[in-house]
Amino acid sequence: MSEAPIRGRILRAALPVAVLLVGIAAWQLVVSVNGIPSYVLPGPALVAATLIEDWPLLWSSLLTTLSTTFQGFVAAAIGGVALALLFSRSKWLELALLPYAIILQVTPVIAIAPLLLIYLPQQTAVVACAWIVAFFPVLSNTMLGLNSVDRNLAGLFALYRASRWQTLRYLRLPAALPYMLGGLRIAGGLSLIGAVVAEIAAGSAGSGSGLAYRIAESGYRLNIPRMFAALLLLSVAGVVIYMALALASHLLLRRWHESALRKES
């Protein structure tokens, strides 16, 4: 490999990091020079210190939120794919149920969460919120994928008298996989959002211990540095989830799908 592409790659990775460093430095400078009190805007150094100091608390909150996110995501993945398979089997079922899936999707989850918290146990309600936000992209992408089968390949399967099940297993599911993975990638981030929204709604209603709850709680107590620290953790969690799903998708598709192929030049 020649030198230029390597230098390009390093530059590409270094650029966002440089922006981050400059931003942090500017932030610290503004806070120090103007003598802004920490309950208005804490400097990055203080946020870092808080992160370390409150680590046990924040870490357990992070785990709570991640567990909710994960449960919501798994439910969304299973529910979205299963529903798409059901719809592909029965046009009637699709006609009957799809409108409600859409209604659920377009109604803001922040408005649904308080209701769910009334009728469901808290942990279930929080997971349900994550599920509601996340399942629709999985459903709609999988439906699209299942219907994106090459017409001639479908003819080929008909020629060889493939059963419905065989056509699903050997043709429609593999053809749908890239779409499905695209949906899951969106669903990962969305279920984190759902979990956070529900935690905040639940937090104002009483108990809770997730990161979003910590943010709300710190807000009431004017513990601004902890708010920032928790927010930072949430963003990092979101980025990691996205990257993990992108990597999984890449590994599954790299042998054949255009989206995962390396550019040649």
Binding site: N152, G155, L159, Y160, Y170, P174
Partner: protein
């Protein structure tokens, strides 16, 4: 080799109309004898692919009868016919071997035997080394060969080919033409070959069936009695004469409809 003679394909009064619009095909009567190599030659859109799909049983005729080896479509098993589409039509997520194995997998054949037969079919089309390659790693001509291997793997009596080489460059097409002829001679299959190339149809087939423009009917049925099919044949005077006849028939067939 199976005994030649008897009808491999029998079409009677075959028509096709897609709903709402006029007929696109027929009525067509055609008999193809066992072991015969027949080309369907016709202008674009005259219904050649439609006819082939109906023979394969993938699409239903609007009226008329189709029998392959004496059986109507409903009574056939999945292995009686091999089909090669205009495009390679391979599953991009599967290796060449897995693609070729598909018909056997669908028939419930054990993995081990199926793999062995798939490899043998790939070797027959000269791709023994590429069993593990994915479609995107193969050239257009190689993909077409994989498609051909897949059509051969069930050892069908009838091979239906829908302009399989139309998208390839001339050199590759000539080579695949010769490969196909060698396979046909070696395996004794009945072949129906769709093309809109006069030269290809004359070079390959024992009969050239010329179709009119939409709705496609049979305009002429030209017998090509050449024994040798090789580079000499391609440059011979008789080859040129047959091409001339087929071209004239094709021109008439196209005009026959333009007038009405």
């Amino acid at each position: 080799m199976t005994a030649r003679g008897g009808d491999a394909i029998r079409l009677r009064g075959l028509t096709k109309a897609y709903d709402g619009r006029g007929p696109v095909l027929g009525p067509i009567d055609l008999d193809v004898r066992r072991g015969e190599f027949v080309s369907l030659l016709g202008p674009s859109g005259c219904g050649k692919s439609t006819a082939l799909r109906i023979i394969a049983g993938v699409s239903a005729p609007t009226s008329g009868e189709v029998a392959v080896a004496g059986h109507p479509a409903a009574e056939r098993t999945g292995r009686a016919i091999g089909f090669v589409f205009q495009e390679p039509t391979l599953m991009p997520w599967a290796s060449a071997r897995d693609n070729v194995r598909l018909p056997l997998t669908l028939a419930g054949e054990a993995r081990h035997d199926a793999d062995r037969r798939a490899d043998a079919a790939l070797a027959r089309v000269g791709l023994g080394e590429f069993a593990g390659a994915f479609p995107r790693e193969l050239s257009g001509g190689m993909k077409m060969r994989v498609s051909l291997a897949r059509a051969l793997v069930t050892e069908p009596d009838v091979l239906l080919l829908d302009e399989p080489f139309a998208a390839l460059d001339e050199i590759t097409r000539f080579r695949l033409n010769d490969d196909l002829l060698a396979l046909w001679r070696g395996l004794g299959k009945t072949v129906v070959f769709v093309t809109h190339s006069v030269f290809e149809s004359v070079y390959l087939s024992q009969r050239v069936v010329v179709m009119t423009a939409r709705p496609g009917r049979i305009h002429a049925d030209i017998r090509i009695d050449a024994v040798e099919r090789d580079a000499n044949f391609r440059t011979s005077a008789e080859y040129a004469a047959w091409c001339r006849r087929a071209s004239l028939a094709l021109a008439e067939a196209s005009e026959a409809v333009a007038v009405t």
